[in-house]
Amino acid sequence: MARKILIVDDSPISRKMLKSCLPKDDDTEVHEAGDGLAGLEKFKEIGPDITFLDLTMPVMDGAQALEEMKKQNPDAVIIVATADIQVKSIERVMGLGAFLVLKKPPTRESVGDALAKADEFRGRQHGN
């Protein structure tokens, strides 16, 4: 079954950049949302395996969306992809249950590394 990835970011270019860094040969289904609230709705609708979540967004910011997503599914694997790399920001989102923080701009290497860690974690979650 295809792995479902949700990308939540208000910047279409940022979503495009992240998508282009996903491994090409992966059996992956990519879904997108343009703000935190739309991302939360999409999250409830599709139940993604991995979510990439920006922080600085209109309507509902990433931290709020993260909190809501974790309430929906405490086991959700949410990678915060952000330009806000202040230590306090990182500590805050890790405290809210982010799996890890991916610094922008993404690269194929950084995204591949994050996905490998996420897949390993999901494997442990499912006892594989």
Binding site: S11, P12, S20, C21, A83, Q86, V87, S89
Partner: protein, 226 residues
């Protein structure tokens, strides 16, 4: 409400008069500004114990002659302001204007002073304010412009920063950098220092000379993501 150029007919005709940048170029520049200011905020937070609340950056193309009015409009909520201004030269060329409400300097002094007790030797409040604003401006402008140019493949040199404390908003005078007939790209970000409840703006204004280079560099930047 975003600033609109006043016209005789009352309509905003500006977008059709100017050499445009595409929506994709604007989005890319916005994302680059977002990354760059995030880096700048993190650098500032390393130097002083502060948390910078970021917002989504905003990009606007306008005629240089409209810059002073545009900037006055943007900071209209501040009756008096303090400005840190620094120009930069390279293929990416223009001016950076860090604008705070006038009392921000005093609010920031205690924070910087606590971190760097030996930095301030003068007892004059005005000098302390200027030194504080210059320190904050140096870090934010240098890191932000530096990251933009790094991402776009350039290196710039900077003029020494100048600080104007407690001016009226009409004292933002970037026009001396810009031929009024030219086009400028304004990259704006609004931020807030959480602990001090101080808000500010960073405007980066590039000259028309940079326009072609910016478009070319944005295309090359995006090639990595095709």
């Amino acid at each position: 409400m975003p600033w609109r150029r006043p016209t005789n007919s009352g309509e905003d005709s500006m977008e059709t008069e100017l050499p445009s940048i595409s929506e994709e170029e604007k989005d890319t520049l916005q994302e680059i500004m977002n990354i760059a200011f995030g880096k700048a905020a993190a650098e500032l937070a390393e130097v002083i114990n502060i948390f910078v609340v970021l917002s989504v950056p905003y990009i606007k193309v306008l005629k240089a002659e409209d810059l002073p009015e545009y900037l006055r409009y943007e900071v209209r909520d501040f009756s008096t302001i303090s400005i840190v201004e620094q120009n930069f030269w390279g293929k990416f060329r223009g001016g950076a204007f860090l604008v705070f409400p006038a009392d921000a300097g005093k609010a920031l002094i205690t924070m910087l002073d606590a971190e760097h007790e030996t930095t301030f030797e003068s007892g004059s409040m005005e000098i302390l304010e200027k030194e504080t604003l210059m320190e904050v401006g140096n870090i934010l402008i240098g890191a932000c412009v530096g990251k933009i140019t790094e991402l776009l493949g350039d290196v710039v040199t900077y003029s020494p920063p100048t600080v104007l404390v407690e001016n009226k908003p009409h004292d933002i005078l970037p026009e001396r950098l810009f031929d009024p007939e030219y086009t400028a790209i304004v990259m704006k970000t609004v931020f807030r220092f959480d602990e001090r409840n101080v808000s500010g703006f960073l405007f980066l204004v590039t000259t028309q000379d940079s326009m072609e280079w910016i478009k070319q560099s944005l295309a090359e930047f995006l090639e990595h993501y095709e």
